[in-house]
C-alpha cells in the first residue's frame, strides 16, 4: 500500500544488486578468482537480494514456505525460459513462445474440462499443437526466409487469436486433478513435482547444449551461419529443429501452467514473455558467461522471482512487475553484451605470444 513512500529503499537496492558484480569484473586482468566471480556473480547477487529482503521483511520473507512456493510456482517460467534458450542459441528470436504456452494450456482446459477428453490425451494434443506451431515457424524462417522476429511475432498473434477463439475469451477451469497432483501439489518437504520437472528439463537442456554434438553444432549455427555451413553442418535443419524444439518446450510449459492453476486463461502466457526473455539473457551472463545456458537461466529465473516476491511482500503495487521485468530485460541484455565483449577481449597476453 505504501508504494509512493519515497523512503522505500527497495528499488534502488534492486538496481544495485543487478549491476555491480558483473560490471565490475574487470575484463583485462582476470585471474581464476575473477573468472569464478564472473561465473557465479548472479548467485551472489541472488544471495544479497535474499539478505536484503530478509532484513527488511524478516517475518514474512524468511520462511521456508516463501521459498517452496516460489520454487513450485515458477516451474512454468523455467521451462519457458529453457524454450527460449534453445532458440536464442541458434540466434533466432521466438516471440510466439508465450502464445504457444497459452494455447497449450487452453487446449488442455477445453479438451479435458469441457469435452471430457482424458487428461493424457489432452496433454498429448497440447504438445502436438506446440510441434505444429514450431513446424510453421520453421517453414517461415528456414524455408521461406522470413526474419524470425517477424515470423514469430505474426505466429504469436495468430496463435493467441486461436486461443481466444477456442475459449470464447473465457477463463476455463476444472482441469483434472490428476494433472494438478502431478504438478503443483507438494510431495516432499513442500516441493512439488512441477519443480522437479523444471529441474529435469533444465538438466536435459544443459546436457544437450554441453554434451551432445548437436548442441555444439547449434551453437556454431547461432554464432556464424556461414561458417557453420562451410564446415559442413546442415544449417537449415538445425535451425528448423531449434524452432520446433522451442515451441515444443513452450507447449510443455503450457501443460505445467494448466497443472499449476487447474485452469487456463486465454492471456495466461502474456505475463511470462518478458520475464522469460529477461531470464534467458540474464542467465547468459553467468555459469557459462557469454552463452545462453540452462543453469544460468535457471538461476536468473529465481533471482528475478525473488525480487518480485520480495517487492510484493513489501506491499508494492502490480505495476512494479512491469517496471522490474522490463528493466531487468534491458539491463540483462546490456550485461550479456558487455560480458561477451569482455570474454572475447580477455587473454590479451596470448597475443604477444607470437
Amino acid at each position: 500500500m505504501n508504494v509512493s513512500d519515497p523512503t522505500s529503499p527497495a528499488p534502488p537496492d534492486h538496481a544495485a544488486a543487478l549491476r555491480p558484480p558483473e560490471a565490475s569484473a574487470g575484463p583485462a586482468h582476470q585471474g581464476a578468482f575473477g573468472k569464478f566471480c564472473h561465473r557465479y556473480a548472479l548467485l551472489f547477487a541472488w544471495a544479497i537480494l535474499i539478505a536484503v529482503f530478509g532484513v527488511i521483511e524478516p517475518d514474512s520473507f524468511l520462511q521456508i514456505q516463501t521459498f517452496t512456493s516460489m520454487f513450485n510456482s515458477q516451474a512454468v517460467l523455467v521451462v519457458l525460459t529453457c524454450s527460449l534458450v534453445v532458440t536464442l542459441t541458434s540466434s533466432e528470436y521466438d516471440l510466439s513462445a508465450a502464445s504457444v504456452l497459452s494455447l497449450s494450456a487452453m487446449l488442455i482446459a477445453v479438451l479435458n474440462a469441457q469435452m471430457q477428453v482424458p487428461i493424457g490425451w489432452a496433454i498429448l494434443a497440447a504438445l502436438a499443437a506446440g510441434l505444429v506451431v514450431g513446424t510453421i515457424n520453421g517453414i517461415l524462417v528456414v524455408v521461406v526466409g522470413v526474419e524470425s522476429i517477424i515470423a514469430t511475432l505474426g505466429m504469436g498473434s495468430l496463435v493467441s487469436g486461436i486461443t481466444l477463439w477456442i475459449s470464447h475469451s473465457n477463463l476455463i477451469s476444472g482441469i483434472s486433478n490428476t494433472l494438478v497432483t502431478y504438478v503443483i501439489v507438494p510431495q516432499f518437504f513442500g516441493i512439488s513435482l512441477g519443480f522437479v520437472y523444471a529441474v529435469a528439463i533444465a538438466a536435459g537442456l544443459w546436457y544437450f547444449l554441453t554434451y551432445t554434438p548437436l548442441g555444439r553444432q547449434l551453437l556454431f549455427v547461432g554464432r556464424g551461419r556461414r561458417i557453420a555451413r562451410l564446415s559442413g553442418l546442415a544449417v537449415g535443419r538445425l535451425r528448423f529443429g531449434a524452432l520446433m524444439a522451442g515451441s515444443f518446450l513452450a507447449a510443455m510449459a503450457g501443460v505445467f501452467y494448466a497443472g499449476t492453476s487447474a485452469s487456463a486463461d486465454p492471456n495466461s502466457g502474456d505475463s511470462f514473455m518478458l520475464p522469460a526473455f529477461a531470464a534467458a539473457f540474464l542467465g547468459s551472463t553467468s555459469i557459462v558467461p557469454g552463452r545462453f545456458n540452462a543453469w544460468g537461466s535457471f538461476a536468473a529465473v529465481y533471482f528475478l522471482v525473488t525480487g518480485i516476491y520480495g517487492l510484493s511482500l513489501m506491499g508494492i503495487q502490480v505495476f512494479i512487475q512491469n517496471l522490474f521485468y522490463g528493466g531487468a530485460l534491458i539491463i540483462a541484455v546490456a550485461l550479456s553484451i558487455m560480458v561477451r565483449r569482455s570474454e572475447t577481449r580477455e587473454p590479451d597476453i596470448a597475443k604477444e605470444g607470437n
Partner: protein
Amino acid sequence: MNAATPVLEARHFSKRFGGTLALDDIGLTIDSGSVHGMVGHNGSGKSTFIKILAGYHAPEPGAELTIGGRPVRVPLAPGRFRSLGMAFVHQDPGLIASLSVVENLRIGAIARGRLGRIAWRDEVRRCEELLAEFGVSCDPRANVETLRPWQRPMLAIIRAVDEIRRLLRETGQHRGVLILDEPTANLADSNVGQLFDVVRRVQSAGFGVLFVSHDLDEVLAVTDHVTVLRDGRIAGSGATSSFTRSDLVRLIVGHDIPPAAPAPAQAARRTDHLTEVHGLSGPGVRDVDLSVAPGEIVGVSGLTGSGFAELGPLLIGALPAWKGRMRLGTTTIDLATITPGAAIAAGVCYVPGDRLREGCIGELTVAENVGLPVLRRFFRAGWLHRRALASHARAQITRLGVRPPDPTLTLESLSGGNQQKVLLAKWLQLEPRLLILQEPTQGVDVGAREQIFAILRAFVAHGGSVLCLSGDHEQLEMLCSRVLIFRRGRVACELAGPEVIKDRIAHECLGSDFASAA
C-alpha cells in the same frame, strides 16, 4: 571548349607509410575530353594516389594540385572532391539493389538532405533522358537488382556524371573529372564493350576520365593516355597508341620475360588417384577443367575478378555451380548439387581467406573450433567427452606448432598465423584428399608463413593434394609445382616446373603475349 585543357594536374605527389615510400613524386595530367589510364600491380601506388585525391590520405608536403586551371590546397578535406567537380566510381558500384534506378541516381542528394519535396515524376523523366544520353536502356522505376550485372557500373558512372553536372550548374564551373577505379573487375568479357561505350560518351561530353585498371586489354581499348606505376614511381607514361601490350607488361612487372630457372630434380607427377574437375561453370567461371595429383600443390591465380577466387566456394558447394563434375578416386560428384557437408564427406576441405568471417568463430575457443568437424568421434555412450576432445585439439595444434598450444583460449586472441594453423588443424585432422586454400598466408607474418608452407608440404608428402588460390605470386612461386592462371573466368594458361616464377605468373595474369611468342 578547348579539348586539350588539363582538368586535373597533380605534381609531386608522394606518400610515406612508416618506412616505405608508397608513392614517390608522381605527376599526372588529365585533359578534358580524354581518358587517362593508370595501370600497375597491387601495391604499385594506384590506390594511394586515388585516396589522396579523395582526401582519404594526406600527401607529403610539396604536392601541388590544379583542378580546372585553379590551384587547390592539399591535403584535401575528405569529401571536398565533390565541390571541386570530381567523382569516384569504385569496383563496388555503391548501389542499393532493392531500390529503383531513379532512387539510386538521386541517392546523393537524398543523403545530403538537400531536397525539398521530391517531385518523383520529374525525376523519372530526367532519369530517362540521362539514361538515353548515355545509351543505357532500362526502366528508371525498375529495381537495381533486376538490372543486368554490367548495367550497374554504368548506372554508377551516370550517377557520378549527373552529380558533377548539378554541381557545375550551381557553381558555374564547367569541367569535371570522373575517376573510375577498376570498374570492370566483376564483369564478364562480353559486356565490357557496353561499359566502354558509356565511358566514351562521358569523355565526349567534355569530362576528364581517370581509368584505373590492371586489365591491359581494357586500358588499350578505352584510354588516350596511359601511366604505368611500379613501386610508387612512374615507370612509363605517354599516348596509349605508342605502347604495345608487351611494352605495358614489361613496364608493370619491371623485367623482361624472366629466364627460366634451372629445373630442379622433380619427382614425376603421379597420374593415378587424380582429383579431377570437368566442365565447371558457375558465377564467374566458365568451362574449367583441372586436375590435381596426390603429392601436388597446385596454385591458381589471376587478376581480381578473373574468377580464380570463386573456385574454392564452387568446389565446396558454398556457391552454386551451374554445371560440372568432380572426380575423387572412384567417386564422382555433381558440382551443381554439391553441399559443403557432402564435399567434406567426399574428402574435400576448404580453408577460406576471410578467417574470422568464414573460417571459424573467433569468440569460441580453439578446442571448440577444431572439434567441430569431429564431434561425433567424441560422442560415446550418449556423452560428449569434452576432456578427450580438448586433449585431441591440443595434440593437433601442438603438431602444427600453434603458439601458445592452449586449446582453451578463444581463437581471436591468437595471432593471424596461429589462427591459420588452427584452421589447418581443423581440416587436416580429417585427412582430406584435397585441401583448397584461399590466400593461406594473408595477414600472416613471415615466420608463420614458412611454418604454414612446411605444414602443407608435409601434408602432400603423405599423399594429399592442395589447391592454393592466391593473388600473391611470390607465395605461389615458393609453394607450387604448377600454377593455373585465370583470365575472364577461364583457365588461360598453365605454368609448370621452371616456369613457376612470380614475374612469369604476373605476366600471365596480365595476359602477356609471351606464350604465343615462345
